[in-house]
Symmetry: C2
Subunit: 426 residues, 2 copies
C-alpha cells in the first residue's frame, strides 16, 4: 500500500509551527510497510485542499490528512471533504456526549459551534481522540482510503497509535500481524552505529529495522510481519541477536525508557539513593533525576559547586586537592563524589567536573570532563572523557555519560568502553 | 511574489527527521512579504523532484529547494536541476579552496567526491555556506527563480539569513527596505496575548506582526517595508507603542535574548551574584543559569534539597518552620532563599518549593508553587503561583517565573502581576 500525507493549516505555511505530524505519520506508516513518496502542506483553503487530494488519489491508495478538525471557521477539512466526496456530515453521539461532559466539568462555557467537532463523514469509522475533543475518522470510498486526523500532535499521536494503526494493519496485512521491538543504545553516534550494522541494514526486508537518534541516545526499531505473534517474535529474536553481536557493549534497554529512566528503575528496585556534586553541568544531572515522580525515593538532594571556592567551603573538597591537582582532575571528581555522598547521606555520590567551553580552564581544552563515582564501601574512582562539541552539547553528554557510568557500576559492567565521542568537525 | 518550498530527502519521508526547514523558510519569506501556498516533500528521486518543480513553476515565481547538496550518491538536487534546466555544472573555486583547506586542517582525509559540493549551476549566484561545505545557489531562468539550499538546518538558516534574504529583497522590494524588530513577553499565554491585541492583528498590513510562542516566552516580530530605514523604524515605533499600550506589563526585552539571558546580563552589569535552593525544580533553575559562559561571574553554586530532611540538615531551614508551616509554604520558600544566600555568600538567594505533581503534597494540589527571594538587606518575600499543568511544565514554569521575579526585583517593578497561567483544560 502507498500513502500520501497532506497537512492542512495556514499556520504551517507561515512557519508558526513545525510540521512534526508528517514525520510522525511517516515513521508509523514505514513500520507498517506502507510507502510514502510525498508530503504536501496546504493552508486552510478548500480549493487547494481538493487539488492536493485529487493529486494524491492519482498516486496512492491511502490519503492521510491532518489538521482542520477543530471548532473554528478556518477548520475546513470535514466540510470540504464531505462536499468533495459527496457524503453527509452526521453527528457522532459519543463525541457529542464527551464534549457536553467536558464543558460541564470545566469553567468554560460551551460555544455554539463546539459540536462541529462531533461531526463525522457518513459511513466513516470514528477514531477516538483520547487527549482532545475533535474526533478523527477513516472512510473507504471509490478505491481509496481517506483518513482525517486532528492537527495538534498531542491529539494526533495517541489517535494513530491507539486506533488508526490497528485499522491500517487490517487493510495491509491480510491476516498477518505486525510486531515491533525497540532496542536502545548509548555510547556511539548514529553514524558509528549504522556503520557497525551496515550489512544488516542493507539486507533487511522483513523484519525491517529503523534507526533513530535522540539527544545522545539511539534506538533501533525492529518490525516484523508474520503469520502470528510467535513467528513474528522469532524473526525479531534472530535479527536482534545479529544486531547485538555488533552492538551489545552499547545496549542498555528495550522499549520507551530512556537512559535516566533505566537508572531510576534500578535504584528504586535496589532501594538505593543517589546524590551529585555538579560543576560544569550546573544542576542538569540532578534536574534529570528529579524529572519524574520516582525522584522522592531515590534522591534527597545535591549540590551545584561551580566555583573552586564553593567546592571547598560548602562541599568541603580540601584546599590541597584543588591546589595540587586543580578542579578539572580525577582527584577532584572523586572527592566531589565522596563529599556529596557524605553530605547528603546517599548510597551513591557522583562528582561532575570539567570544561564546558568555549574557553579553556586550567589549561585543559573544552570538552574535557572527569566523572567521579563513590558507591558505599566500594573503591571510589573517576573516569576521563573528552567531548569535542559546543558548550551545551558537552554538558548534555557529561550528564548522560554520568548516568551510563552509574548503570555500569550498578551492573558491575566494565567501565572502560563508555567514552566514544570524537570531535565534532563542523 | 509567490514561492513554493520543496524539501528533498528520503529521510524526511521516512520520518527520521522533522522538516524544520519548511517552517523556517516560511517565516523568513512571510517577513519579506512573499506568499507561500504549498510545501512539498519528495525523496532523493530525480523524477519526483522534477515533477514537483514543474508543478511549482505553474503556481509560483520562486521555487526554493532544500536538501541534496552533499557529496554522496543520493544527493541528487544539483545534477537533476542541471539536466532539467539544461545548464552546466561548473566549479565554484572559492568553495573548492574552502574544502581543501578544511581537510588540511582536520584529521579526515578528503574523499574523492567531496568536490561535488563545490559545483554550482552555470550563471547562478553562489550562496556562501558559513557553517558547512556545500555551497548554495540562486538561478533566474525563464521567468522563474530557483534557489538550492543545503538540508542541515544549521547550514540552511545562516545561508538564508546572511545571503539569500538580501537577494530576495532585491527582487521583491523595488528600492524599498525591510526592517524588523522583535519584542519579547512573558507572563501570559499566546492565546491571551493574541486576544489583547486582536484589533491590531486584524488591521495589520504594513507593518506586519507575527506572534511566536516558545517554551513559556512569546515574541512579536514587527516587520515594515519602507522607502528608507528611518521611515521603516518610525512605522515600527508606532505599532510598537500600540502593542505596548496593551502588553507593557508583560514586556521584558528586544531581540534574541531569552528571559534567562536578560537576567544574566542584569546581574553581570550590576556585579551581583545569585544562588538558589531548589526543591520541586530539582536543579533546573541553576542549570539554566549556568548554561552559558557568563555563569562564572554571577553564580558560584547552589543546592538541590528535595527532601524535608535535607532542607533542614544541609540547608539549615529550621525544623520549626518545616513542622509548623510545611515545606510547601511561603515561610519555607523564604527561609530556603535566605539560607542558600548565606551558605553560598551570594547577593541574591532564590528558594523554589512546591508540588510538581502528579501527586499532591501536604494536601496541596499539583502546580502549587512558592518562590522566595532574599536580596541583600532588602525585606525577603515569597510569592504564590498555581500552574495547573503536568509535572514537567509545572517545573519549567516555576523556573521561568523565578527568573521573572528576579528581573522584577532588580528593576524594582511591582511583583503582583507575574502569575497568570490558568488551568490546562486538556
Amino acid at each position: 500500500m502507498k500513502a500520501e500525507i497532506i497537512s492542512i493549516g495556514t499556520e504551517l505555511l507561515l512557519g508558526q509551527v513545525d510540521n512534526s505530524n508528517a514525520a510522525y505519520l511517516s515513521r508509523e506508516l514505514a513500520s507498517l510497510g506502507i510507502e510514502v513518496y510525498h508530503h504536501v502542506t496546504v493552508g486552510d483553503n478548500p480549493d487547494r485542499l481538493i487539488e492536493a487530494v485529487k493529486q494524491a488519489e492519482e498516486r496512492v491508495d491511502l490519503v492521510i490528512m491532518s489538521g482542520g478538525l477543530g471548532p473554528t471557521e478556518d477548520d475546513i477539512t470535514k466540510k470540504t471533504m464531505a462536499e468533495y466526496l459527496k457524503v453527509d456530515l452526521i453527528l457522532h453521539e459519543e463525541t457529542e456526549d464527551k464534549i457536553i461532559t467536558y464543558h460541564k466539568n470545566s469553567d468554560f462555557e460551551m460555544p455554539e459551534n463546539n459540536q462541529l467537532q462531533a461531526l463525522i463523514l457518513a459511513d466513516s469509522l470514528a477514531l477516538t481522540n483520547d487527549t482532545g475533543l475533535a474526533v478523527g475518522m477513516m472512510l473507504s470510498k471509490g478505491g481509496h482510503h481517506y483518513v482525517l486526523l486532528p492537527g495538534p500532535p498531542d491529539e494526533l499521536e495517541p489517535m494513530v497509535k491507539n486506533y488508526l494503526n490497528e485499522e491500517l494493519v487490517k487493510h495491509t496485512l491480510n491476516e498477518q500481524v505486525l510486531i515491533s521491538r525497540v532496542l536502545r543504545f548509548f555510547g556511539l553516534t548514529e553514524a558509528q552505529l549504522a556503520k557497525r550494522i551496515s550489512s544488516i541494514i542493507q539486507s533487511q526486508s522483513n523484519p525491517t529495522i529503523a534507526i533513530y537518534a535522540n539527544e545522545g541516545e539511539i534506538t533501533i526499531r525492529i518490525t516484523a510481519k508474520a503469520d502470528d505473534e510467535d513467528k513474528g517474535n522469532k524473526e525479531i529474536d534472530k535479527i536482534e541477536e545479529e544486531i547485538m553481536s555488533h552492538l551489545s557493549d552499547y545496549f542498555y534497554g528495550y522499549g520507551d525508557k530512556r537512559l535516566a529512566d533505566v537508572i531510576k528503575d534500578m535504584l528504586l528496585e535496589r532501594d538505593l539513593t543517589i546524590t551529585a556534586a555538579e560543576s560544569l553541568t550546573g544542576g542538569a544531572f540532578l534536574s534529570m533525576l528529579t524529572s519524574d515522580l520516582s525522584a522522592g525515593s531515590i534522591i534527597e538532594g545535591g549540590l551545584v559547586t561551580y566555583s573552586a571556592d564553593k567546592k571547598n567551603n560548602v562541599l568541603k573538597v580540601t584546599k590541597e586537592t584543588i591546589e595540587k591537582y586543580g578542579v578539572v582532575s580525577p582527584e577532584c571528581a572523586i572527592e566531589m563524589a565522596e563529599k556529596s555522598r557524605k553530605l547528603f547521606g546517599a548510597d551513591i555520590g557522583v562528582g561532575l567536573t570539567g570544561v564546558a567551553g568555549p574557553s579553556s580552564l586550567e589549561n585543559q581544552i573544552p570538552g574535557t570532563v572527569w566523572i567521579g563515582i563513590a558507591f558505599k564501601d566500594k573503591q571510589s574512582f573517576s573516569k576521563h572523557y573528552h567531548f569535542g562539541f559546543k558548550r551545551n552539547k558537552n554538558r548534555m553528554l557529561a550528564v548522560l555519560n554520568a548516568m551510563e557510568l552509574v548503570r555500569r557500576v550498578l551492573l558491575e559492567l566494565p567501565t572502560e568502553n563508555t567514552v566514544f565521542y570524537g570531535e565534532d568537525k563542523h
